[in-house]
Each structure stands twice: as structure tokens, then as C-alpha cells.
Symmetry: C2
Amino acid sequence: MAVYTHVPAEDIDAFLTRYDAGRLVSAKGIAEGVENSNYLLETTGADGHGHRYILTLYEKRVDEADLPFFMDLLDHLGERGCLVPRFIADRDGKRLQQLSGRPACLIEFLTGISVTEPTAGQARAAGAALGQLHKAAEGFAGERRNALDLPGWHDLADKCGEHFDDIAPGLHRRVADELAFLDAHWPTDLPRAVIHADLFPDNVLMLGDEVTGLIDFYFSCTDIRAYDLAVTHSAWCFSNDGATWFGDRSRAMIAGYEAAHGLSAAERTAFPILCRGAALRFLLTRAYDWINTPPDALVTRKDPLAYLRRLDFYAKATPAELLDI
Amino acid sequence: MAVYTHVPAEDIDAFLTRYDAGRLVSAKGIAEGVENSNYLLETTGADGHGHRYILTLYEKRVDEADLPFFMDLLDHLGERGCLVPRFIADRDGKRLQQLSGRPACLIEFLTGISVTEPTAGQARAAGAALGQLHKAAEGFAGERRNALDLPGWHDLADKCGEHFDDIAPGLHRRVADELAFLDAHWPTDLPRAVIHADLFPDNVLMLGDEVTGLIDFYFSCTDIRAYDLAVTHSAWCFSNDGATWFGDRSRAMIAGYEAAHGLSAAERTAFPILCRGAALRFLLTRAYDWINTPPDALVTRKDPLAYLRRLDFYAKATPAELLDI
């Protein structure tokens, strides 16, 4: 969440001449999203009215080979009415450029703010937006493997090994037991689709109770569709520390998703297990980052135990408790 | 150059209700300026047209007691036609607030981009803008001590001590000799005024060759007025590494300042010495940061030797070389 590559404003101005975007009048490095460098640009606009764009430079965490998948997905979703930021083509139809030695794209700017403490109304809107996204994604031909799937969780757990217990005594055993449970119970016959896979409140732009944009698709991939709702549920329906589950948000989110897309009987039955997987996925990535980030680094380490507490909740939850609205 | 304090968007929205600013529609943390936290806000605007603001939260580096000086200075300058970002008063006339436990202010947003490789035309515009700022500052009653004056340089040099030679062999001796020279030759009878004291290209917003804003006044203070031109000269008229002096930028900047304000005969005579002081000031703060920042920290350390090279240049320069245009 920083600007990793400093791009001289003169270079941004020259870069923009490839596009019908007008001349640069402001460029601010913004702290946003995954480990990319992002600039919020303002231009005179092709029509003389001020226009804003996001300029993204891809750092090591995003694989350049994945960019066409993301670009095509957002085009597909945008054409079907989803409020997603489209990649903008230059006059030659090219969307992927090089700038300051990095792959770089000009991207639509969307207004809206990311809430920190969602209300039930906002959780409902997020659930509905996810359902609409799943509807719109139907027929999208692209595929991308989820590197953070069940085998990926095993890999991460192996890398953390004994260090889990530096975070909390007994965590190593707890993770091993949970992986064994998921190995035995993870569903294999649920519908798969392209999912967002990271729809935290950070990645939903809102005005009041209305969703104005879904952003940051850099984890999007092909996986169990209902798992996307489980990820979103784990991100929106608890206090930050995971200690409190908010039933009102939870019921509103499920109702929003049901209205926009719906869950099959098989998806409902599997939902608590999908939620356990979602909680474990964020527990694992946070634990890995915790173990591999020095405590005095400027980067804020996110508490892995906030997802252990969610996991504890989901391990005891019934489908009715989670899904009855 | 990061966002140190994360402010929930809901809190920014609530904060804005004190002002006639409309409702929040976008908030992005921006990497800008000294060690404050800055957000670029967009609101619906009091008139229903989109409007932008900077929200600044002051971290430890800015003393809250200095804020009224900065606020009054920018009001004074703005009223006299300088393009500076004004602090915005809420409906009760209050400009200083508290937000997320920090002193916080809503500030005008100015368009324009900061150049990285100034042209001579841009250096001329910067010199002229500095001269206009000095004209506009006349009659401003506020005073603020420059903590980075000659006694302050001695303090910094004492703190670095033997560690100077970890940066470059012989640097400790060189700094001591330069301080001795400045102790003997630093002018005491030149006009003093409120100065910007940090007018790097970063702090000048431009569109083409036109200055659209002077920003980041958090080093502004009372000191020798012509020293401000020396600081600006050292920042604009060299390659980044200090190895190359650009005579065209230098002549253009001086011409711009002469046209807008002018230098007295005494100021011209002292100018090379003022430039040596300016170069030493940035050499010292960079050396101090270099010594006190671990090499693996995420913060980029700026090379102190880039200012040693400027110092070497100024130590050999004549007033004619620097000032004849």
C-alpha cells in the first residue's frame, strides 16, 4: 500500500499522448490495492472537461501474463452492466504499455468510498453486487487457476511450519487439523466460475448504501462460485478482530446475494465448510506475512488471529445460522 | 511520503459535515509532502459540481503550535494573489480540527504537476514565482525561527560526528571546515523576511511553463530573504546527483527572480555564500537521515553527496557566474 515506482510527471504526460485523454493537469501517487504503484491522474479530458484515471504500474506481485485475463474479464463484466473499472485502450487499441520499466495500464476511475464499518444495508448491497457479478461472469471464457486453493493452503502451511506457534501456542496443530478436515470435506461437485476472491470492503466503492464500483480484481480466478460469497462473508460480517459476528450484516448480505443470484441446496449445505476455507485462507496468508515481515518494518502486519477467531465461529456454525434470512 | 494514519471514510464523511463542502464521493490516501498523512478528497461540492480538497493529518514532524503561523501566512499570500493552497474554515470559522487523534485541516486542492527535469523556461517561472511570493510576504507580521539555520547546522553536524566518514571518507573534516568558513562569512546585515525555505520542484505545481501553485510551506520561517533563492537555486539548477550544473536553468531562474523581485548589490555579493549554506543545509539533513535510517528500511534514503557536489560547485563559483543573466 505505497508507491513503489516513482514516475516523473513528464513521463506520465508523454504516456497520455497515446490516448484520447487530454493533457495531464494533476498526478498524485495513491496508497491503494495490492502491491502495485498507483497514480490518480486528472486530465483536461478529450472534451475539455476534467477527467480522472487510475494509472497502475505492476510490481512483482502481479504476473504480467495474467493481465490479459483481468482485462478481458473486466471488459466482459463492464459490457454486462457491472460497475467495474475498465482498462483503457490507446489509439492503436493497446491496453498494456511499459512505463518506467514496468508493465503499466490506464484504467477508469470510479467514484465511491470504501466503508470501514459496514451497515447491514451496505452488506446487503455488497451481497447483491457479488450476485450480479456472478450473473455477469456467466459465459466468460477465460480461466485462471486459484493459487490460493486447498493445495495452495497446504503449501503455505508447510512454509510456516513450526513458526505458527510463534504467533500463538498450538496454532501449528490447529492449522494441521483444519487442513485435514478440509481435505476430507471440501466440496468437489459445486459449480465453478470466475470469482473475485478478495471482495473486502476496501474493494467495494459505495455512496451511502449504493455500490458504485467493484475494484481490485487481481486475485480473481476460477474456483467454486459459492466460495466467493464465503470470502465476502468472512470479510464483511465480523468485527475487525474477528471476535464478534454481526448477524444483521450476515443476514443482509445473504439476502442480497439470494435476490441477485441465489444458492443451490448443495451450495447451502456446503456453505459453512466454504467459510472455514475462506477463514483459513486469510489466516494462512496473514500468518505467512507475519512470520516473514520484521516487526519494525513500516508495513503494518495484519493480525492472523483475527481470522482464527472467524474460523472458530464458522467451525461451530450451522447452515441455518449462516443462511436463514 | 506515505499515509501514516488510516482514517475511516465514514469519519472523513462526518468531518466534512462541519464545512460547506458537500458530501464525500471519493477519498484516496496520497503519498505527498513531509511526514504528514494526506488524502485527496472529492465531494459533491456546495454547488453540486464535483470539488476536490486535500485533507492533512499532522504527524509528529509538524509542531501543532506552528500551524497558526502557516495558516495566517497562506491567507496573507493568497489574498495578495499568490497561488497557494488556503486552509479552509468550517462554518464556525475554525481551520484546525482533530481527526483520528491528530490535528487535521481541510486545504484547497490545486491542479498542476511537479516536474522532475525542469526546463529553463520552468526554472524562470519558478524564480519569478519565488520573487512574487517575497513581494506578497511583505507586511506579514508572523515570525517563525528557522530551526535549520547556522546554529542548527552546527547541532546537526555534532549529532552526525564521526559517522560522516561512514558516508564518505573525509566528510567529517569537510563539514567542519565549511561550518568554520560560514561562521566567518555568513552575512548578518541582509534583509530578513518570511521565506518558503524548501521550494524544490516537488513543491511547485506547473502546467507547461506556468506555475499553478506553490505548496508545502511547512519549513517556512523567518530568515535571510535571498537565502530562499539560494535554496531554490540549489534544488532546480543541477542534475539530481549534483554532478552537473545547468547554466541555462540557473540564468533563467535568476532572470525570473530579478524581474519579479530583484536582488540588492549586497545580496548579489553574498549570493555564493548563501548558496554554500543552502547546499550544506541539505547535505546535513540528508546525512543525518542517512546515518539514522537502516539501509533496508522501506524509506528511500536520499544521497547526501548529491549536495556535497553542489557545495563544491558553489565554493568555486563567482557572483558573476551565478548571477549574470
